[in-house]
Symmetry: D2
Subunit: 341 residues, 4 copies
């Protein structure tokens, strides 16, 4: 069986496992107030070049999203594109915190500025929710990325209408190491109000580092976390992991590897003349196939059906990870040789 | 510095770390559907002698409590004693899911049956919430434990008034290995509707195994978890840990060790004629001291102030863990020699 | 000033005012348990030919919608078309109860069956909410109505996928007295699981009568109402009003009058060659005009801008009520003579 | 049957009914933006001598409480005494908005300052909720009232710890016209941050006027109301009623009458040597009787059992209203003659 199902199918980078082993018997205070978490916070603030930011470590992506959005007042809503993770794949977690997710049609997984502005303007009285936050993910659910020009325009629009910009960075590593990327971690901090750096999908056992830059959003965030069961007792486990990720460029190395494997994967699909559903350069690859093809593939490779198209074809998602090996790509190539001949 | 601050101040049992290391590079499906989680589920069902139970693995205690209680309909309330963890130390997590926590005065951390029945009877119309669940913890927040007779009576009362009994087992290991304990894991399953087996405070890196026995409570629980951000992407991390805990009696060995260390600790306090705040035989030890004593101690030993008594005295909490060493107890003894002389 | 702003701009039908006056000094028990409420309940059960239904009286539409939908479990979602009142004009009330509103594109304000089925099928795991209720309004927010054939198909689809059908009847009177209508009150009860009969927009001072037919939805509804502040202390005020509405066919008479006035209004617009935005036969009339026209009109007639079209034109909404007079229509005709010449 | 069950058992003061009748056919804008509501707002601001206050009209008490408290952030809690309406008789409405109600033992229905301060101080970390609002009712659920000295001290304590003071004035009329009262409406506004003036229990058909004085609490309150279904479509009904209540001293006349009737009632109980449960001078009278007495009374007089005492005796509540007549008191006197002889 070949595994391209997701980027959280294995454990973690060896450096992280070593650090957990090394520190295992040391005692430390709980709930993220330990020295490892403090050190990781320091490293992250340096990496994002934002000394006044606050950094909180959470366990997973949905948890991070719902805590971050619960910063809003009850009648304030978050705008996301229709493919947004908070709209589709979080079982209504945001609505369960009491907030409406307003959806607008995305363009290859990215927010369309004109649609965004029209939606903001359409909300004009107390009979409707008040749009207050824009949610984007980078890389997106379709593996596409935002460019500096995108963020500059989004920031301007958010400023114009007094909205917060929240960047879901579950796959931020993949975005920032993509071949066409022109953004840096400090840029991400600069153009957003709040964002997170994903560990779970980039070589940590688990963990997301949430960064709050906007002063208005900082107050009592630990209370919001605790109230949602999002404060890890052995908080140091998160500190230790992010400490490693932000030592020796590990965070970027792991992401770069996944992207490189995806690049090889794309070459294999091109060779086999299998069309892409979307063009992108991060660690998710989407192809369009028919059901016969999928049926031949599914018992040999663990993958996801992303979409059932109206014409009966399927969009398949292949994901590479920090642990994907060139051998896996070669094996897939051979498998496709068999299937397509 | 001596560490008696809590039972989650260190990492995990070496067996667990080895298992995580051994499985690190294997790929598996996410969200708790992997083979390790399935195996751990099987082991737990055997250990509790309840083949029809459902088992879910969550990351922490507050998260587990709020997911379990969100099973209730909105107007249904949970009754807890005033010292209950859900009432005091979860930042209103239960109320934030929309449910009232009705509190009744506890007796050494345990529910008083007469007060419980009176409270149930006092709720009699749609102007008031409907009591529907009783929450207890075993061992309790004061380190005391429930006995078989207690649970039989509680069960009968719950049956009489159609309430669910939920046992918070964050420290269930400590309870079931206490010297005076007369309950088994199958008993816990037998007398409750839903309960959890705590890993975080008993030698796991993190993790709680929630067991749902009552058929009425089983439907769609994963949806409730996901909606609250409580489904771990790399769910196998939980499976691997509980697999180890329920191999070779490890869960009980770790808890027994912590209790034995607490027993030695009590002897030290007795020797120094320091009175206990509550008499118990699990891994939490509560003593009553004056402020002078505390001030001498606090820079040498990491502990918690549990309570400020009306007479100005302090209740201090010492907690032993799966990693506490006899040397730590000996060192504390010497420290007390210095302080009390 | 001519008033076509809405159908709740005046007080109530004289019969209702008389009944309130006549009963004013009588004492009765509170919270809807009084004799008037019981009598109104009896009349409604007869009118809907559903003796086992439960009837609850609430004050307003948003309140009724949020109470009705809070019957669902937290992860269960309601599907509405994009123009649905719960999606647009209730300030996120449904989401604030914790439930996602899944929207699908409507056809002239009505649910499209194919889109509905596709949406249901797209929700397939615990990562997504569980669609459990379909919300429609009759008449719709665009003044269109559902026909028997529509409801039969919707019912079949709901049965197929185990969804509840909820009919928002804020303007049910207008729907059931429309010239093309082929549904009766018993039909509404027959094809839905839960629905309400609107009083506020049909001649009552305020009040909606919620009917729960499906046995699964009946339990403890008063608790849900009370918890949301929706139980009126002087509940008899609602009973007295619905008693009058369901005496002597008053409910239908009032609605029929509003529809007739709308019909005259349409003739006026046709005469002036002003195009309609949507074709319908209830008490809301939507026309398409340019901004110049609107600017001439707005200080002489109280109306609403329903939509700003992409081409710069405006959709205006005119609403007639139980109190609209033929003289108002004649006056509008003259006003248009002036404006359009 | 004699009716002393509550102060909302009848309709409304005749002045209100006349005003509703007189304005019935006039058209006005909805949702509280009409001229009547604006005029009522003006009158109330004058009556409370607080020109910068914001005034909102809501339908009922529980609704008003839950909207007012939803101003808080999710982790912020409200402190009430154990007998507080929000703690006991609102079916968990406050918790359902996500906020914990922290209860402290009351003294005759009033907050005890020492207990309040101790409770505030006991909340000291993000593991616990943050106390942010104190809720009191005046008159209280036991018919007692707060004096100027009480409010001065409460205000000082709230200022010291940065808490808001919220006064539930469902029976504010009864409090301010009690014989021992030394507070004025401007005092109520002066010492609180937010409070409401009850109409439902003082001669209106329904309605509570919520006054927000503290600038921090003013933002977007209509959104919070709308989201909770608390914006009445025909908002003018509330405006018209409060307009009448604040014309010609009607609000105080109605309350004074109820209190005078309660005073006569007390004399009857004294004459019959029936002991009071609590000493007070507003329109609720609490007596202690045995079950035999109650059984003789219950079919002749509509009253409430307030409490079942531990010794088997009952506390009965008699309430007088704006419509209670001296004849009713005389009739009760005769009834007691029969029962007690």
């Amino acid at each position: 069986m070949l595994y391209f199902k997701n980027d959280y199918q294995e454990g973690c980078a060896p450096e992280i496992l070593q650090a957990l082993t090394k520190t295992n018997e040391m005692a430390s205070v709980g709930y993220g107030l330990d020295e490892y978490s403090l050190e990781a916070t320091k490293r992250i603030k340096e990496a994002i070049a934002t000394p006044n930011a606050e950094v909180y470590f959470l366990v997973g992506g949905t948890q991070t999203n719902l805590c971050a959005i619960s910063i809003l007042r009850p009648y304030e809503a978050v705008i996301a594109c229709d493919t947004g993770h908070i709209n589709v794949h979080e079982c209504g977690a945001i609505e369960n915190t009491g907030h409406k997710v307003i959806t607008i049609p995305g363009k290859a997984g990215k927010i369309d500025l004109a649609a965004l502005e029209a939606t903001i303007l359409a909300h004009s009285s107390f009979h409707m929710v008040e749009p207050k936050m824009v949610y984007i993910s980078n890389s997106t659910e379709l593996g596409t990325i935002y460019y500096k020009e995108d963020l500059i325009k989004l920031r301007a629009l958010c400023d114009k209408y007094h909205l917060y910009l929240f960047i879901d960075g579950a796959r931020l590593g993949a975005a920032l190491t993509a071949s066409s990327n022109d953004l840096t971690l400090p840029d991400i901090a600069k153009y957003s109000d709040i964002f997170y750096i994903g560990g779970t999908k980039n070589g940590a056992l688990f963990g997301e580092a949430l960064v709050i830059k906007n002063e208005n959003l900082k107050s009592h965030f630990q209370y919001l976390m605790k109230q949602r069961g999002a404060v890890l007792a052995k908080g140091r486990l998160l500190g230790i992991q992010f400490n490693e990720l932000f030592k020796n460029d590990l965070f970027f190395k792991l992401a770069r590897h996944a992207n490189e494997m995806a690049s090889l994967l794309r070459q294999v699909f091109i060779k086999h003349q299998i069309p892409f559903y979307v063009h992108n350069d991060t660690n998710q690859v989407f192809i369009v196939v028919d059901e016969t093809f999928y049926n031949k593939l599914k018992d040999r490779a663990a993958i996801e059906i992303e979409l059932n198209l109206a014409d009966g074809k399927l969009v398949l998602r292949f994901v590479t990870s920090f642990l994907t090996k060139e051998d896996d790509i070669v094996a897939l190539d051979k498998l496709l040789d068999n299937i397509t001949k």
